[in-house]
């Protein structure tokens, strides 16, 4: 592992521990067994399949919510609670409500009686199968590249570490502070674009 890639807070466990104000003793070993993974993965893939096959867009949206929540569960298994929280609050609570709102706004009755797939769907399916084959061969061939170990990330300080990476520690800029500002700019542009496109008269 390239040491330069490790963020400073992680490289110094002692400092990390001092920074964590309500430091808890090491909790019991995680009870997440492989069955949790298989269950969540199956839920994610099956409801993902439902997303693209349902005739009714609301059913698709609800299946997508199930997928998002299962993926959030997978994040928890990967010791990324903050990302899981963001996934729930932004995706499931924000974006999907927006989707449902728009689905109800546009007339769905007529659409669900029409043809659901476009004319070139065999080509699309074939291309997707080719893509899947490519992925699988890449995973198969590159097996040695993916390390077998799973590092036990400190779960209790996950949020603080991400904050250190995003905003930097006291007094100096974080590695991703500039990117963070750019992201806020992106959101501003998106807000303006959405308002301009949906408003009839400005």
């Amino acid at each position: 592992m390239n040491p330069a890639l490790v963020i400073p807070a992680l490289a110094h466990p002692s400092r990390m521990a001092a920074a964590f104000i309500d430091s808890a003793p090491n909790p019991a070993a995680p009870i997440a067994t492989p069955w949790f993974f298989y269950g969540l993965a199956a839920a994610a893939v099956i409801s993902g399949l439902l997303v693209i096959t349902r005739r009714n867009a609301v059913h698709s949206a609800l299946s997508l919510i199930v997928t998002l929540l299962s993926v959030a569960g997978l994040y928890l298994m990967l010791y990324a609670p903050f990302v899981a929280g963001v996934q729930i609050i932004v995706y499931a609570g924000g974006i999907m409500v927006l989707f449902l709102f728009v689905i109800m706004l546009v007339n769905i009755e007529r659409v669900s009686k029409e043809r659901q797939f476009n004319r070139i769907w065999p080509v699309g399916l074939l291309a997707s199968c080719a893509l899947l084959a490519l992925f699988m061969s890449a995973i198969q061939k590159g097996k040695s590249l993916f390390l077998d170990r799973m590092v036990q990330l400190p779960e209790g300080t996950n949020t603080q570490q991400i904050a250190a990476a995003l905003y930097g520690e006291t007094g100096k800029m974080g590695q991703y502070t500039f990117a963070f500002e750019i992201a806020s700019l992106l959101l501003l542009v998106a807000i303006l674009g959405a308002v301009i496109m949906t408003k009839k008269k400005i």
């Binding site: 104000i21 309500d22 003793p25 963001v86 609050i89 499931a92 609570g93 409500v97 300080t157 949020t159």
Partner: protein, 434 residues
Amino acid sequence: MLTSTINAFTSYLGSPLPPGNAGNQLWALIYVLIIFAGVAVVVLCMNWIERKALAHFQIRLGPMRVGPHGLLQPIADALKLMLKEDIIPDEADKLVFWVAPLIGLVAAFTVYTVIPFGPSQAVSDMNIGILFMLGVSSLGVLGIVTAGWASNSHYPLIGALRSSAQMVSYEVAMGLAVVSAILMTSLNRTGTGTLSMIGIVQAQQQQGIWFLFKFFPLGLIAFVIFAIAMVAETNRSPFDLAEAESELTAGFHTEYSGLRWSLFMLAEYAAMIAVSAIAVTLWLGGWLHPFPNALNGPAWEFIFSLFPGLTFGALALFAVIGTVRMPSHSFFRIQRAGLAVFALLLAFIALLLFVIAILGRNPDASIAARFREGIDYVYWFMLKVAIFMYLFIWYRATWPRYRFDQLMKVGWKVMLPISLGVLILTAIVGVFVS
């Protein structure tokens, strides 16, 4: 088996951590059961209190017939709802119609896993506590939206549309207000804040001030923003446009009846308690009793630990007064006896609490002392939540409903700029202070 269970049971007592973090699954299960049963009972009580309070606001009596002063009315209502026919409209989307109330209920109840009733009186203390709470409580809107859509009827659909727009708008202001409170938790020596619910209360204890009064008036403004947004989030009056009975004949649950309808009510009240708990945790010092830093020491601790008993004693006194004032006609004989029994029950609880307070007055490791501490924490937390619940009723009795365009205007043009300004000012002041 039995001994290992007993060991698991006793090994947790005295641990300073919530059971989820102490790795004690047995106690976590017990807490989950206690909280679920407690919320269900509190919702029943709220039903009665709301009807009585609304009635008294309007100089009416409210329910009087079922039990003394209508005390058994919520139970009668619950029985009625359970026995009623459960109608699913022909044209409805059956599956979604069936799932929708469950989504709301699960979202409302899942939140309780991280609510800190005390430093170790919680199911779990997550590192992302407040984020988890906001995220999961925002899932509740999915129940409303899908219910309105699945009913396949006009009024419910309009209710669902209104509700989704309202939730998305007010969540923004709510989130920014919460962020300004979280910023305040980082004003310590190391400059590291926390998202954990227990950590937030402990930060208030360390800084010696409720965040409500921190950087006066910044904390107060953020709290007021949150207090408004949380009424909108729970679809209560004056923001109850999604279920406006005079406009939409009940909005999203027009087509619901019987048990499913009561699930919506349960979810709504559970969500009310949950958002009040967020407000209490973030701004009102959670489980801390008033002035925890000025009024500490064994004497003050003892005085504060008498409050739970005094509260129940006062309730018992009211019940006794009600018994005495009941008309002496023979028609009221059963009701009077019932109220007297109720007063005795309350007096017994008060006595029990007094006994625990006196037995556990020495802060040692004895079981009575730990019991006393736990009761204190839960009492002060519940008292603060109860004030919010009363406010919810008061709003409903006092204010007229907003029009939808006014609601959007208030959300986007008033609350959002103010909460952004408060957030920026909090950050600036925080930098200067530290």
